[in-house]
Structure formats: structure tokens, C-alpha cells
Subunit: 226 residues, 2 copies
Amino acid sequence: MNEAPRSPRERFREQTRNEAKRVALEQLAESGPSGISVNAIAKRMGVTGPALYRYFEGRDALLTELVTDGYRDLAEALEAAAHAHRRKAPATRFREVALRFRAWALEQPHRYLLLFGTPVPGYRAPELTFELADRSMRTILEAVVALAPADLPSGRAAPDRELVAWRERRGEPPAPPAVLRRAVLAWTRLHGLVSLEVAGQFGGMGVSPEPLYRSEIENLLHQPWE
Amino acid sequence: MNEAPRSPRERFREQTRNEAKRVALEQLAESGPSGISVNAIAKRMGVTGPALYRYFEGRDALLTELVTDGYRDLAEALEAAAHAHRRKAPATRFREVALRFRAWALEQPHRYLLLFGTPVPGYRAPELTFELADRSMRTILEAVVALAPADLPSGRAAPDRELVAWRERRGEPPAPPAVLRRAVLAWTRLHGLVSLEVAGQFGGMGVSPEPLYRSEIENLLHQPWE
DNA sequence: TACGAGTGTTAGATATTCTAACTCAAATAT
DNA sequence: ATATTTGAGTTAGAATATCTAACACTCGTA
């Protein structure tokens, strides 16, 4: 997105940083989060350990950057799916977004776990986590908004008020609370299935997760609007 | 459960092991999975580092033991909830088991994340993971079985066959595939909500997760049996 | 009471993160 | 074109981690 960095030095710097992150993701895939080692990354890049400290404050900063990159990547994948089907029926669009979500997770399970699994380093701020997840959440929300009929009533229960307030805080057009609640449920249900699948919990059960996932999508599409 | 260890030495050994695991869980709560250090545990126990290697093969073995303990603990909590309400209506029993599930996770979020988050050490075998999660799964399954009407048909779709086969493999009384599917969905939906809550993803949203969780329980109870 | 199994210690090999001090090349400025 | 400065990479080293090996001691056991 950003145009070419001005100086050759900045370009080189950017290139080295990306290379380091690329190698870090390799390490992540091979040996898990705790296998990401500044030293090993440097060695694999053909430089000594301390050299990398010119580019990252330390191991945790590098990890954090992988996390933020991951959230951005996921959000972009979902947005692309939504955009690709923007002319289709809302149900179709929702399905495609949901399927893209699972596909993204399965393409790079270690990254998905890095985002939604145990916080790895010292501890990353939960607020940061939320800010980042929010962009994906918004795409799902838009897909759910398009599904809802026009005449949904406004609820008065506690979670409804919270959701409406949250939506207002972001300066987005208001949506009926039932829609917001449905969007959150969509998020948690899809995440529940995907995270257990990625963590290998279905493996021993002999269940193919895909039909389950599809049926859960249909459940969300056909569930009555209270 | 196990009766008193015979020799004083075995008793002492058991005691030391438990103490070590207790301290390890403290470390886990304070500094996350990567903060669990054999050295630090030993220091906190008043001995030197290498002493602990008499009791655990290494750091990974200790970690693995924390994981297996956690799965056992969770399963026992769910079984206790089911047992406490064994005379109540099936819907009540299911509700209580589901609520206990969330309560267990909230009481010790770091442990829940240790079980269902990113695999931490080298890599624990997924089969092991499944074996252990199975016991909790079974309790949920029993609760769902009790909910189902008696005249459910047997499906012929692929996931149904898999689920039935899985159930048979464990030598348990057969259950209609719709029931098994519902049980898996219960598991994934509850886990989806709880894991996002425990990971702090709802924090910034200002949503109280409890009403959402309860509504999801009711959704499971009232969803038609296809 | 003598033995031996088991517990804990120190020393050390290896690997990690990260800082400090230094060199050197290359981009920038004059 | 030359001088200056910026910054990349190096080695050295402090602090801490896992884990092994060799040794000492102690307390159950025979």
C-alpha cells in the first residue's frame, strides 16, 4: 500500500525486516511460538544475532509485529471475500466470508493459533488485541447486517445496550441489537469450530470438520430473528 | 483417588512433585506459559535448579503434566456438575454443565489457555490431546443425549457415519447421529465463547459475555432436531 | 547397624536474549 | 569529488535458561 520508501537505506531496512519476519514465520511453523529465536533467525539470514536488534527492539517486539501482521492479513482476506461477492445475495456473501475465515486459518494454522491461542511473550495488551480483531469483526458484522430484515425491533436488555453503545462509539451507522448480537455469535461459533479444528481436537474423533462448519453457517443463516 | 503411597520416600516424592506443579501454575498465572522455568520453580521451592530433574524429565515433561492435570480437572468439574443435577430435568442439567464449563475457565484462565490455546513446548501429540479432551466431551455428550427425543432418525450423511463410528469405537451405547452432531456443536459453541472471553477479546467491546453465553445455551436447548 | 537408594549440591556445556563498544561501508551533504 | 554522518554488522560479555555429570549426604530399609 505504502509507496516506495524514499531512501535506499529505508528500502533496505524494510526489506531486511520483512525477511526476518518471513524467517520467523518459518520457525513458528516448524517449532511453535517458543521456537522463534532471534539468534536462529539471524543465523538463517546469514548474520549474527545482535545484528537483528537494529531492526527490532527485541524478541517480544518481533512477536507482536507478527501478531499485528496476522490480524491485518486476516482482515484483508475477509474484506476481499466480502468485496468479491458484494453483488451476490447476502446469504451467499455471508457464506463466502465465513468460508474464507476457515480457509485462512487452515492455510496457516500456526498463524491462527498465534492470534487466537495463548498469548505468548510477556503479555500483549488485550486492548491492542481487540483493536486489531475489530477490523475482521466489522466485516462479519456487515455481512450479518445485510442478512437482517428491515423491521427488527430495538431491544432493551443489557447486552443490547452495550452492543449499540459499542457500535455508536465507532461512529458506524446504528444497527438493531439483534443484528449485533447475531454477529458476535457468528464470530464465536465460527471461531469455536475453527480453533478446535486447527488445534487438532477433531483429529482423533474422525470427524470431517468441513460439513460441520457448513451446517453451522446454515444454522446462522436460518436461525429466526427472535 | 489413589490410596496413600506405601513408603515415606514415595510420599515425599509425591509431595515434592505436587509442590513443584503448584509453583509452576503460579508462574503460569504470573508470566504465561513461557514464564514457567525449572530454575525459577526450584528457587521458589528453596532448592537449586538441577534438583528438580530428579522429579521431572525436563521442562517439557512438567508442562505436559500440567496439561494432563488440567484436562482431568476440567473433566471432573463437569462430571461433578452433571452428577449434582442428575435428578433434575435434562435441560437444567445441560445448563449447569455448560455453566460449569465457563466457570472453570474463568476461575483459572491461564489453565484454560494452556489446554486449548497454542501448544506450548516442542509439540504435544494431538492424539494425547484428544484422548484427554474426550472425557469432558463425553460428559457434554451425555447431557445432550438426555435432551433428545426418543424417535430421532439415523442419518446417512458422511459426518453422521463418522460420529457413529467414533461412538462405537469407544464401546458406548449408540446414539442417533443428530445427537452426536449436536453435542459437538455444543462443545464448539461453548468453547468459542469462552475462549474469546478468556483471551480478552470481549474486553474492549464492552459486552458482558455472560448473557451471551446464557443465550447460546438456550439456543442449543431450543434448536429444532432437524 | 550397615547398606544403598534417593536427594541435593556444585561445576560445566550449550543456548538464549540483549547491551556495549568498535569497525567499516555506504548514503548524504557540502 | 570529497568530507561527514548515519547506520549496519561485528565481537565481547553479562545474565539467565535447560540439562548432564560427578560428587556428598541422609535417611529409609534390610
